[in-house]
Assembly symmetry: C2
Homo-oligomer: 424 residues x 2
């Protein structure tokens, strides 16, 4: 007890983290400008200057989500809080919700629907494969009235990209809301909230936005807001009650709800500025290029994409481990000796796959080459490789334009410019 | 649309906040070392070095809460998320919960109990007054089986300090859990989780801990954990389900639940180190001294404490405005001309009181003097004062030991040392 109250030095020393190359499923690397913003002195959460910053964040998030939705905010919680916020506000006890399940995050959505008292109707596909739009059409036809269809755009557990373009129209035909998890896609690959008829969409900051974790950007259109207003029961969460949260974010009211995580919003603003400086299309092209180079390199090491061809995420490569690679041992060596973090498999894929994230600042040529070089060196030491260089050479061919798929002239121009600036 | 995808500069310029002296009800000022920690490069949330940092935070939080509770963590949300987390995990549909309501935050607790399907039994006192332990005893005797008693230790809307010392025993006699909101008290005034028989307690980071907002330190003892394990219904929140959150914080499991807000935890670790370097008792004494100096100065300006005598928070002075002071105009002038933020009244106290926070780094002599000087200058300009100096002189008398209540020798020594270091 005496040691608690004595004015001595803390038992904990200064925290100096080891350098890490973050190439896992998130958090991604954070740009120095964003780190600097995180350390900016605080304003009060009702300070006029802070409210102006919130407006700016909202405007930039709208451009990022490709939406005109007035209700576009950054929720005070991580991506999973965003998932819960949308479901808890849109789903009432007894509501049926069609949930696409092809991995961990679809399953999580179904679990949250249940906790809202809703009735999840799962439409499943084997992990790594997509759900065909016809399966959603069929489920809608068979299910009677459905409150919403909920799909994961980028399934972080499998590396698969779920096509969404035609689902919005199906939902409108049947009066269902269309809810989308864009945690691992926002700002890394095309996502068109308005054009695709998405009624409610959430993301996280620590993926392709390259901001530290802690906020969940989300957006709801008039259709979703009307469903919230029509609720017969109050939202079961007070913290995530978007009608209360809206009173704080809405210009004109700005009523205190809870104290906003000010530093996180500073960081997000700077991360969004970086997105705007680069432009969305060049950013998507950069993610595609780095993903192609990485995939080409990994193939030479026997690591092949897990997800269905044609539907692989540029932001996250999920690759199957060949026999002979000891998952835990290699990942531990990467971390200890090379300071590189990559992700292991989740759930049934544990020990079967690696998940290598190339998101935001992590999607740079220097990082791809560093990882491939490290994997080759480890393979050599462990006797799995005779000599190094094949993986690096395969990546180099992609960068030289010899391994790329045909690209549009505009995309090619973007890629050339990306090539010059790749190694930031 | 073209403007969205063009790789031009962002429409938002660099963010350079105006300097602000934060003397409102939170966020409080943040020490430069904590700001620096917020900008530290990231580790992954499952990195062994990050897990070690979590252990250190837990150990320091236990000392701060004065508890041996193994389950002591920092929840990924603000103080209000901590409130909801405890209630949503401990209260099941139909459960009766006695809630003390003497201001906004007691009322919020009652609202959250209702959203959990619980039945709040409110024990009220006029705002600014405390609830007498006998009223809790009476409520327990009258109410039949009660799941919990929930009280706010430091009511941020009124500046009153609710005594808690004897409530734990009453709760144990009747089999109820004792839940405490310590948002505005933790690390600013004595709080004894174990000694007072508190079963579950939550706080926020942006008050007396002087860390940016975004985390909620919380602690549960074995009695509270047993109640969680005995639940008949699943927790309605997935994000705040403490049995799942525990799997991440528990050494030995460390299972992924959601991505921890890494930078916030960096900041909290440094803020806790500063608490330990100062020591809890000297820190409490510093808060008391600055509060006494401020109160003495404000009294000369006709601003008298709102809360019941003997039960006023050292961390937050809630003072009644005399006739002739225009609440909004003076606060706007303070902010615009002096860069000082203080808080207005909430709910029925809007326009009636000011809430001046002296929490953590905000509780410094230089800040007290700066505020008093600014108030005098404004009073002079607006014709409410004939000449300045009385408020500053009253504060100076307290600092000189002429206006202090009797203190123990140990406390006096602490105060002397504080006096020397006050203007950091």
């Amino acid at each position: 007890m005496a040691s608690v109250t004595r004015a001595t030095s803390s038992v904990c020393g200064e925290f100096i983290p080891p350098p890490r190359l973050l190439l896992g499923p998130g958090p991604s690397l954070v740009h120095p400008r964003v780190l600097q913003a995180m350390g900016t002195p605080l304003l009060g959460h009702l300070d006029p200057e802070f409210l102006r910053l919130m407006n700016e964040i909202q405007a930039m998030l709208r451009r990022c989500f490709r939406t005109e939705n007035r209700f576009t905010i950054a929720l005070s919680g991580t991506g999973s809080a965003g998932m819960e916020a949308l479901l808890v506000n849109l789903v009432e006890p007894g509501d049926a919700v069609i949930v696409g399940v092809t991995g961990v995050f679809g399953a999580r959505m179904a679990a949250v629907v249940e906790r809202c008292g809703g009735r999840p109707i799962t439409v499943e596909a084997p992990w790594g494969r997509i759900i065909e739009p016809d399966d959603i059409r069929l489920a809608l036809a068979r299910s009677g009235p459905v409150k919403a269809v909920a799909l994961v755009h980028a399934e972080t557990s499998t590396g698969a990209r779920q096509p969404l373009e035609s689902i919005g129209a199906l939902c409108r035909e049947s009066g269902a809301l269309f809810i989308v998890d864009a945690v691992t896609s926002l700002a890394g690959l095309p996502l068109e909230v308005d054009a695709w008829g998405i009624d409610a969409c959430y993301s996280g900051t620590q993926k392709c936005l390259s901001c530290p974790p802690g906020l969940s950007p989300l957006t709801l259109n008039e259709r979703a807001l009307a469903a919230m207003r029509r609720r017969k029961t109050p939202c079961q969460s007070w913290y995530l009650d978007l009608s209360l949260v809206a009173d704080y974010w809405e210009e004109g009211t700005r009523a205190y709800h809870h104290t906003a995580p000010i530093s996180m919003l500073y960081g997000l603003r700077e991360a969004l500025r970086l997105v705007e400086e680069e432009g969305l299309e060049p950013r998507f092209a950069r993610h595609r290029l780095q993903s192609e180079a990485l995939t080409a390199g990994l193939a030479t090491l026997g690591l092949s994409p897990f997800a269905q061809e044609g539907y692989r995420l540029p932001s996250l490569a999920c690759v199957t481990l060949p026999a002979g690679i000891d998952d835990a041992a290699v990942r531990a060596s990467l971390l200890r000796r090379f300071q590189i973090e990559i992700g292991g498999g989740l759930g049934p894929l544990r020990g079967q796959v690696w998940r290598i994230g190339l998101m935001g600042e992590s999607a740079r040529r220097s990082h791809v080459l560093t990882l491939l070089g490290a994997l080759e060196e480890l393979g050599l030491e462990q006797g799995r490789l005779a000599q190094p260089g094949a993986a690096l050479a395969a990546a180099a061919r992609v960068y030289a334009g010899q391994g790329e798929p045909a690209a549009s002239p505009q995309q090619s121009a973007r890629m050339s410019s990306e090539r010059e600036n790749a190694c930031s």
